[in-house]
Amino acid sequence: MSTSGIESGQAISHSSTIARRQAVTSDKAACLGRMIEIRLIEDRVIELFGEGLIPGTTHTSQGQEAVALGIAGATRPDDTVVCTYRGHGIALALGMLPEAVLGEILGRQIGCMGGLGGSMHLSDPSVGLLPTMAIVGASVPVAAGAALTAQVLGTDRVAVSVFGDGATNIGGFHEGLNLASIWRLPVVFVCENNLYGEYSRINRTTPVADLALRAAGYAIPSETVDGQDVDAVRDAVERAAARARKGDGPSFLEAKTYRYSGHSRSDKATYRPEGELEAWLERDPIRLYGDKLVAAGTLDEDGIERIWAEQRAALEATLARVLESPRPTTAHMFTRVAASES
């Protein structure tokens, strides 16, 4: 009857993305491995940009891997995630294939939208990722809408809206929170507070340091979590998602985190106070989680080294495949402009 939304999607290979998602949900080593995968890909993206292989701009997320994995580990592939242009890490955490992500960033046909979208536009409905949005704040009400679908159709799916601290100053954020609260929508708002909105430090743009305070104005329960601790993020998202699935409405999580890079590739982040980056590097989320797994006896140092080595090798293989893939042709430019013409 209805051909709207995800149901109308073309047949795609779900098995590998779903398996990647399930791995980080159930397996701690796989979760650490995914964080490392993200770090290595983001670092390589910066290098590839320098080599002139990536057009335009790119926004990387080194330092924020725990938030991405915390969300992926606490939600299901049939939940919906709406996030921003700083989305490489979340896309990979949710289970998108590295070649689909890296291919899109490099503008190749193997990319998730055939190389026509670029670094800021990743999506994969098989793991619930709506197209990442390059307009600050736009994703917040859109996530409320995905939650509305769950409420109207009576499913127990939740929507997760991921945005930065900068987005909490734009109208869409406030309108989205208000609507979600008044309609008791099953949505989890996750604010990645990395202290900088583009080039400006939060204290210069935002009158409150704790963004969770903003949820109170919409009668939305909130929680502040250590965004460098993947378990803390996952537990908080799980609590919020459970509330949403029960019909108790939206929640707001502020994850205190840090982006090691500048806003985009052209930003050298010279505005940061001396020592700030170094202090955050002391609490690197990958190292914190690795140390925790060693302390718990889940892995030893050699095991962690093996994961790094495996991920490095996997990245080389992925990159080779991506670079073999051609760029889109003129004919591709004329496709998928409108669903009625596709």
Binding site: M1, S2, T3, S4, G5, I6, E7, S8, G9, Q10, I12, T80, V82, C112, M113, G114, L116, G117, H121, S123, D124, P125, L130, P131, M133, I135, A138, V140, P141, V142, A143, A144, G145, A146, A147, L148, T149, A150, Q151, V152, L153, A159, G171, G172, H174, E175, G176, N178, L179, I182, W183, T335, R336, V337, A338, A339, S340, S342
Partner: protein
């Protein structure tokens, strides 16, 4: 016309349980223009919802809902209010199919009242098609009465892409007899010959369709063929080209101001593609490049009247030259 719109929405909600309706004052109050009477009672508060005054919020929610399996029909009370939410239509909804690599689509209908003639003043009287023109992935239709409103609304709700349907506010209370059935569904992108004629093709839209028909009826010295374009994106090039190849003349009658109006697109297409058929330059009848004035006399002066349109068309046909606009002559 408001009853025809309500009926169209009601029938689509009956046939498809994923159709939901929301907007400001549309549920309990049944719509400021009475375009949702009885919907809350029939379908309940899960599918028929009042929203806060929060266009970016509820349009964004409509985009998210459309991407995940619903067919939202949202009401923007006055088209001007779309300004605070334009991102969600132009930069989000219209690009979602493309940005998902063709895996998702956003079957969303945005209804908005538009236009002048009721004395609302300049911030509640614009047509603003030009905000949306030239947006790939988006469709735009304009109702000219109860029959086309019914047909366009049903087509918009069924369409796989986001569609904006403009409803000229002066027409809500206007009556028109028609049979509301499947045959009355208006395919998007297809215009209609509202009156046959041989001397000049007059392309009209929304509330200027009635202006064009009246101008044609009172015409002296020309026999006009009037086309109700009905959809601006995509617009029916074939029906216009066919008519111009017969008449050799083109006049657009637009409610909007001259600069950047939709008629410029039609005129440029016809001027470059139908040049061998043309016996006169293309001419546009529009409002002047001023804000819509408040109050009946000046507001009526702003809008192209049937008398003015008839004068301009007659001048084009008799002289073979595009006549000056009234404000060029008077000021």
């Amino acid at each position: 016309m408001n009853q025809a719109i309500t009926l169209a929405i009601r029938e689509e909600m009956e046939r498809d349980p994923t159709v939901v309706v929301f907007g400001e004052d549309i549920a309990e109050a049944e719509g400021p223009f009475k375009t949702s009477e009885g919907l809350l009672e029939r379908f309940g508060p899960v599918r028929v919802r009042d929203t806060p005054i929060s266009e970016m919020g509820f349009l964004g929610a409509a985009v998210g809902a459309a991407l995940t399996g619903l067919r939202p029909v949202v009401e923007i009370m006055f088209i001007e209010f779309l300004g605070v939410a334009l991102d969600q239509v132009v930069t989000e909804a219209a690009m979602m199919h493309y940005l998902s690599g063709g895996r998702l689509n956003a079957p969303l209908t945005v209804r908005a009242s538009s236009g002048s003639g009721l004395g609302f003043g300049c911030q509640h009287s614009q047509t603003l098609e030009r905000w949306l023109l030239g947006t790939p992935g988006l469709k735009l239709a304009v109702a000219s009465g109860a029959r086309s409103a019914y047909g366009l609304t049903k087509a918009a709700i069924r369409d796989p892409d986001p569609v904006v349907v403009l409803e000229p506010r002066t027409l809500y209370g206007r009556r028109e007899e028609f049979e509301p059935n499947e045959d009355a569904v208006v395919p998007l992108g297809v215009g209609e010959i509202a009156r046959q004629g041989g001397d000049v093709t007059v392309v009209a839209l929304g509330q200027t369709v009635a202006v064009a028909l009246e101008a044609a009826a009172q015409a002296e010295g020309f026999d006009a063929e009037v086309i109700d374009l009905r959809t601006l994106m995509p617009w029916d090039k074939e029906i216009v080209e066919r008519s111009v190849s017969k008449t050799g003349r083109l006049v657009t009658i637009e409610e909007n101001q001259l600069t950047g109006g939709w008629g410029a697109e039609i005129a440029s297409h016809v001027a470059s593609r139908c040049q061998t058929s043309l016996r006169a330059p293309v001419a546009r009848v529009t409002a002047p490049d001023v804000h819509v004035p408040y109050g009946s006399e000046l507001e009526l002066r702003f809008l192209p009247s049937a008398e003015y349109a008839a004068t301009q068309i007659a001048a084009l046909v008799s002289t073979g030259k595009a006549p000056e606009h009234w404000w060029e002559k008077e000021r």
